[in-house]
């Protein structure tokens, strides 16, 4: 479904070049939800932006459904971290969700109906006429998810989607992501810096090294379904996984100790 091969992205050139990700390879089968975690500045966001076709890589390639990604591919949807900036404040919630549908759906009423259905699916019925700023942060991020799902994407990219909401809302949104994964066959890449979250929602967790980001580990997550915020998180398997991921992210052994951390922070968009 999604194949990333030796993907490298350097900012700048020559001696001053900063390598954000270095020969990252990963394969994601149809319908899988893969969490990507790593220390701050490991190039998580750069990886996501390369996969989205928003920036061009320096070397290597991204192949989505057999097609090399050169520009933003069809069937892609993105949920950005910063919902406050990625939802358009001049559009109502419904128009925000319906805007990407303009490309495929000519009839306005059909777009509105699809937007309302998508809003209802994320638990926000009846807010279509409001403006984004009239909603709480968690609700705004739900709108962003509704917008991403409205066009029926095959690949969903989420860039630290729940980084700026409170803990309770975050758990609700994680459960929403799990529900979407259960109900729909969308391949999902979720970038996060939250280790518990990566294990809780993921079918697999990919750990990147500190910059330049390389794949350090690729761990399958075999937690029983349906997952639950309380019971799943007390399972020995969950505890074992989160400990392992935590250890990998911290990368205490000398070989992968973060080099040039201060520079690397510049590369990650956060």
């Amino acid at each position: 479904m999604l194949e990333v091969t030796d993907l490298t992205k350097a900012y700048g050139s020559g001696a001053a070049a900063h390598v954000a990700i270095d020969r990252v390879s990963l394969t994601i089968p149809q319908g899988e939800l893969v969490s990507i975690v790593g220390p701050s500045g490991c190039g998580k966001s750069t990886l996501l932006r390369c996969v989205a076709g928003l920036i061009t890589s320096t070397a290597g390639q991204v192949v989505l459904r057999g097609e090399p990604v050169q520009r933003v591919p069809d069937g892609l949807a993105v949920v950005f971290q910063d919902y406050g900036r990625s939802l358009y404040p001049w559009l109502t919630v419904r128009d925000n969700v319906a805007l990407p549908l303009r490309r495929t759906t000519r009839v306005r009423a059909a777009r509105r109906a699809a937007a309302d259905a998508s809003l209802a699916a994320v638990g926000l019925p009846g807010v279509g006429d409001k403006y984004p700023r009239q909603l709480s942060g968690g609700m705004q991020q739900r709108v962003a998810i509704a917008r991403a799902l409205a066009a029926d994407p095959v690949l969903l990219l989420m860039d630290e989607p729940f980084g700026s909401v409170d803990a309770q809302t975050r758990e609700d949104l994680e459960d929403l992501v799990l529900r979407v994964r259960r109900e729909r066959d969308i391949t999902t890449l979720l970038v996060t810096h939250d280790i518990d979250e990566s294990v809780y929602v993921g079918d697999r967790v990919i750990v990147l090294t500190a910059g330049p980001g390389q794949v350090r580990a690729d761990l399958p997550v075999s937690l029983p379904e349906p997952r639950d915020q309380i019971t799943t998180k007390e399972l020995p398997e969950f505890v074992r996984l989160r400990t392992e991921v935590s250890r990998l992210v911290r990368g205490r052994d000398a070989a992968t100790f973060p080099r040039r951390v201060p520079d690397n922070r510049l590369a990650d968009s956060e």
Partner: protein, 258 residues
Amino acid sequence: MRWLWRGLVLVAGVGGWQLWTSAAGSAFFPRPSAIVARMHHLWFSGPAAHLFLTPDATGNILPSLGRVLAGLAIATAIGVPLGITLGRSTVVTSYLNPLLQFARALPVVTMAPVFIVLFKIGTEMEVATIAFGTVWPILLNTIDGAATVDPVQLDTGLAFRLSPRQRLVWVIVPAALPKAFAGFRLSLSLSLILMVFAELVGSSNGIGYEMSNASNAFDMTFLWATIVLLGILGYLLNALLGGAERLVLGWHTDKGLH
């Protein structure tokens, strides 16, 4: 309650003016009651069918307003599209910027003789003066607005594969609009000044023309009537713009930025 107090302050101000001018009895400072009576007689005592406007009003106020609106329309038609284009191409703007700053710094009044030669004295020259003077705030503010669109908003448009046209209509223009409006507000007050100036320089009708007549005839009440009329027009145009702004930019202004 607050509007009541505001109204009271206005009434007190005008009342003070009335008392002071009555006491002073100066020929140069007629009483406001006399000014209002003259305004009514000059412009607003017409037949109901003409909205109470006298021939003097339709022959002078309307042409002046027409020039202001025509000048602003031209300035907007040039300033907004050009501003969006320049704002989105940083390279072109960096080359053009010295030129723009120079042209903007030219006092418009100094361009009036040029326009007189170009267009002869008359409406064309007056509209050209207003348009040339008011295009700069609109243009420069729109450039700024289009150049500072949030990168996340642009990325979102790209990530959802909006066409270039859709990104322009649904992302860039709305994002640039608040600053374009700020520029337009400056241009609006400038346009009245330039209208009076252009009509003083040479015109066969208009509010500036009436002012010049009143001044030549030492008719102080008439002169003050035109000044008060200009104040009222400026206030009304501004209020109209405020209404339009709330309508178009409700998402922006209601946030409590103003």
